[in-house]
Symmetry: C2
């Protein structure tokens, strides 16, 4: 049945596919990477030579210990420094009592300490030279409390002083090339590929990464950015436009920070690479759920759908739609396609595939006898 669903989900609408192939071909022709400090910073974040993990429980509990074990399991080859205020040891790693105690500069930090300790940890990582940090801890703006909002503002303020932040309230970065992985992703694939995924949700990020593993989607980068106190949809999208390892961009969005800037960026990026968008929270109750999840505004369905269409983005309605669409764009050579043929080993599967293809506007020409 998967071939059928594949057809179903990939070919949303024929006119869209034609437009899409057109812009996609443009993307293949090239576009050089602009050499700016922003992309240099992010390159360092996605390919860190060494990492500090702040908040590693010597008892093996918690996100910090989990991400350390996940990095080892997926085969990250750089140096890892683990920090716990009580010191000690975990899994053969010395636990430094503070970031300051780490005996070298660091490229990237993974922070997993209680929310109220995050700002100080982040500042310490900045002083250690980290280009960026992913903050796995929750307890910020999404709580709806004044204390949470204040702590998130502190993160923003420190970030502006010179460290890029992924999160807080996120699962972090999966990058098969460098061996970075999401929080519960010890078993993700190390095979690289053309698909990037920017997700406001950690759950969606890990789900697509896992679905992709068995479905054959290969990733360049998956970023769960959670509350998005610093880096979020727009900046990351802009980075991916110029990322030579990324050819297809997927996004799960609950709410954007600056609608106008996001749509201008989306229009620009979607003119060079396919951008597949799954927008959550467009229903009344979904909207309520979004508020308590990432504290975003869900938005109005009609405005969102119109704006996505005008941006030439491809809108999908669930995670499997997104997976199949991304797989399609990552496998099928660029070109204009106006028909489709169905072959297979089962009669009814052929019937279903034909029915589905036509429902989505694809023409199946009748084959002629030789």
């Amino acid at each position: 049945m998967h071939d059928v669903i594949y057809n179903n989900c990939f070919f949303h609408d024929q006119s869209q596919i034609k437009r899409r192939n057109y812009v996609w071909r443009m993307a293949m022709k090239g576009g050089n990477r602009p050499d700016n400090s922003y992309s240099v910073e992010l390159d360092k974040i996605f390919n860190p030579k060494n990492i500090a993990i702040v908040g590693v429980s010597s008892a093996g509990f918690g996100f910090g210990s989990g991400i350390l074990l996940s990095l080892l399991a997926i085969g990250y080859k750089g140096k890892i420094y683990a920090v716990n205020k009580n010191g000690g040891e975990f899994f053969g790693f010395k636990l430094y009592k503070s970031v300051q105690d780490i005996p070298s500069e660091i490229d990237f930090a993974i922070i997993s300490v209680p929310a109220e300790l995050v700002p100080a940890s982040l500042e310490a990582c900045r002083l250690k030279g980290a280009a960026g940090a992913e903050i796995l801890s929750a307890g910020f703006r999404e709580t709806g409390t004044a204390e949470g909002a204040k702590l998130e503002q502190e993160i923003k303020d420190i970030s502006r002083k010179g460290i890029r932040v992924i999160g807080p309230n996120c699962f972090g970065i999966y990058c098969p090339k460098s061996g970075l992985t999401l929080l519960p992703g010890p078993d993700l694939s190390r095979e690289e590929g053309p698909v990037a995924f920017l997700s406001q949700s950690g759950g969606m990020a890990i789900d697509l990464a896992h679905i992709g593993k068995w479905m054959g989607i290969r990733f360049s980068k998956v970023v769960s950015f959670g509350n998005g106190a610093d880096l979020r949809e727009t900046e990351l999208l802009e980075y991916l436009q110029h990322d030579p390892d990324t050819q297809v961009i997927c996004m799960y969005i609950e709410g954007v920070e600056d609608g106008r800037r996001f749509f201008e960026t989306l229009k620009k990026v979607a003119a060079t690479k396919p951008v597949i968008v799954y927008k959550g929270g467009l229903s009344v109750s979904g909207h309520r759920a979004v508020e308590s999840h990432t504290a975003s505004m869900g938005g109005n369905r009609i405005i969102w759908e119109s704006a996505l269409r005008q941006s030439n983005a491809i809108q999908v309605n669930d995670m499997y739609d997104m997976a199949h669409t991304a797989l399609g764009f990552s496998l099928i050579p660029p070109g204009k396609y106006s028909g489709v043929a169905v072959t297979g080993g089962g009669g009814a599967l052929g019937v279903s595939s034909c029915d589905l293809a036509e429902r989505f506007g694809l023409i199946l020409p009748e084959l002629e006898m030789a």
Copy 2:
């Protein structure tokens, strides 16, 4: 993601669900089984004490040997007689040179010999007292040849003399209660349950049976009836109406033999049990595919959809829709449902579930603080 898809597929349309629960409750109240010879025959077919398999290759090739091994694997406890015109032995079974040589009466026959030998084998089984036979062999009306049509007519003629036929060009019967299984179904579940599936396609039959196994759907009977020379959608549907083991009926239909009779029966049965229909071949190309698959007429989409709606059947658009809908009806207690609550361990999964529920007309009331 499966919970989400489950919501998606089960609740097609709120008014339909309400109607459905109403008739479903009627079904629960009862309806006695009519004691007629037709249902006695079919009871014997679904629960045979002994089976003849005609066409068992001693080399282990072919459908006959496959179904014998499948019956052993699934744990069919009755007596099996294997027939091969050359005699010999297979897997510890003596191969009788003809059906006539079998030293007892038989309840049910599984026929898997070349098409031109099928009529004689069927007649021999009839003379051995078999209530019915499933004919796995292909090479009949679906070939589009005069020879194929003639052979299928011979099957019909013999059947009218007193043996009920499932097939030809089918995968046969799966009945967990008695240990009958489809052709490639040695690993299907022996757990019984309330869902029956009548399928013109063998591939769809085995797919739903397998999907059901991991998804938690339990079956009363699955029948792949292929070309349907004798028993097909209408007769089998009528039988299931009175089958006490069946509470939910699924159907995959490529074409019906007698449209008026089918829809009258469907209306009658759907007034007592939920009937979920997946109609293949409603597109132009799907229609062509149907012709070469089971030699049926695909039919017109608008007429089919209107007639199904008028019959109070539940139309689904693919095999997973069917699986989720059947699972829903087999698990959720009868009643009128006007709202739904979403609980779960992931933020974005909650958002998606809310969005999906609303897309299908379900209301998610806002929870009040205690």
